[in-house]
Point group: C2
Chain length 208, copies 2
DNA sequence: TAGATTGTTAATCGATTAACAATC
DNA sequence: TAGATTGTTAATCGATTAACAATC
């Protein structure tokens, strides 16, 4: 699965959601690249190209079978497995993520929460106790957890990330607006909300 | 400001944050494109190219003056103004956004919250009362608000968006994992967290 | 003057789009 | 068979990188 462009992976998720919605609403059994493209705001050629990275998922002259394609995309992306996850940072954002339903539906399950704030340690978020960062390394290693979510302030993110990598974490979903300097083989997804704010304001300013 | 690539705008925000951090830590007064690039994980050529869209912000043979560049970027992006914002959806994600400090620091201020859930209407989030969606159109129009944040379930997003546009909203920050079909002149920033999850899992699966 | 670094142009790279043969 | 639609190749487009003249 090397050689798949990053934008393609993002769109696979959009296709997946759209197909899910079709299934929920019991719409058509078959969908064409034109319809799927319209549904997610992408050209039909783009849809076909994206899907073609993973083999022949459709049927020439017919289209794609909705339920099968959904299942295949789930498998391709990895939504079909359960991934235990640690969350670092039990602030507002971190707590919201714990309660975020979609998270679990897609296979990510927060199983441990860590924070360095003594006022938060010992509290529970939903059913999960907030533990001290000092316990993190041992627990992550012991449970063999591979994925971490960083929801700490920008100043702490790099330090926390290094600790996570030392503990054996291989993929990080980073909500702090900083570039993490880590080993090349660590997967880092930057989910910086302020870049979204920036694009929003910039574009608005320039149409008004 | 037309012709600026979208990836460039995202990076401007990174530069802005990095410069802020330098200022907070009272580091150097001057920074080169090489250093700035290293700081945010981008090539020096990329930094210079990005900045060059907005004129000559540096000094040949010297570099960029940190505090001045920060201020200029703030102005270019639009972080120097205050933008009143409405939030639709007072669920976990919506409430977290209300408490999200960065938000206000960058100029976005949530001034109204709407929801269609009778159990939520009338409650307060921080100091802001949750109102019925039915009051939205009038209040948005009356206050002349231009920016909305959609934090409702996927099924409701399109409908809410149409209502917002009717009320005069010009830019939407959309957290629902759906493509909004709206007039071309409406700015829509898709902040779909599940696409982040997808990229994370996909990439992890393919290195293991 | 010598060294450093910008701003910009040209070259490269990669992603998107268009077109069409294959085939249901 | 005629119509529809995929999968794929080639053409286009746009963004990134490399190179270098300008200049502090």
């Amino acid at each position: 699965m090397k050689g798949v462009p990053a934008p393609t992976v993002k769109r696979l998720v959009l296709y997946y959601h759209y197909l899910e919605e079709l299934i929920r609403n019991e719409r058509e059994q078959i969908i064409s690249s034109v319809e799927l493209g319209k549904g997610v705001g992408v050209s039909a050629a783009q849809v076909r190209k994206d899907l073609s990275y993973f083999g022949s998922l459709g049927c020439k002259g017919v289209g794609y079978q909705v339920d099968i394609l959904r299942k295949q995309l789930g498998k391709i992306i990895g939504f079909n497995q359960r991934w235990p996850v640690v969350l670092i940072g039990a602030g507002n954002l971190g707590r919201a993520l714990v309660y975020y339903e979609k998270f679990r539906e897609l296979g990510l399950e927060i199983v441990e929460i860590f924070d360095c704030d003594l006022n938060k340690i010992g509290n529970k978020v939903a059913t999960i106790p907030v533990r001290s960062n000092k316990e993190m390394e041992e627990l992550v290693r012991q449970k063999g957890i591979k994925i971490a979510v960083i929801a700490v302030p920008a100043e702490e993110a790099q330090q926390v990330a290094e600790l996570l990598v030392r503990a054996g974490i291989q993929a990080i979903w980073n909500f702090a607006p900083v570039h993490l300097k880590l080993r090349k083989d660590i997967v880092v997804i930057a989910e910086d909300l302020s870049s979204g704010i920036g694009c929003l304001i910039f574009n608005l300013k320039n149409i008004i």
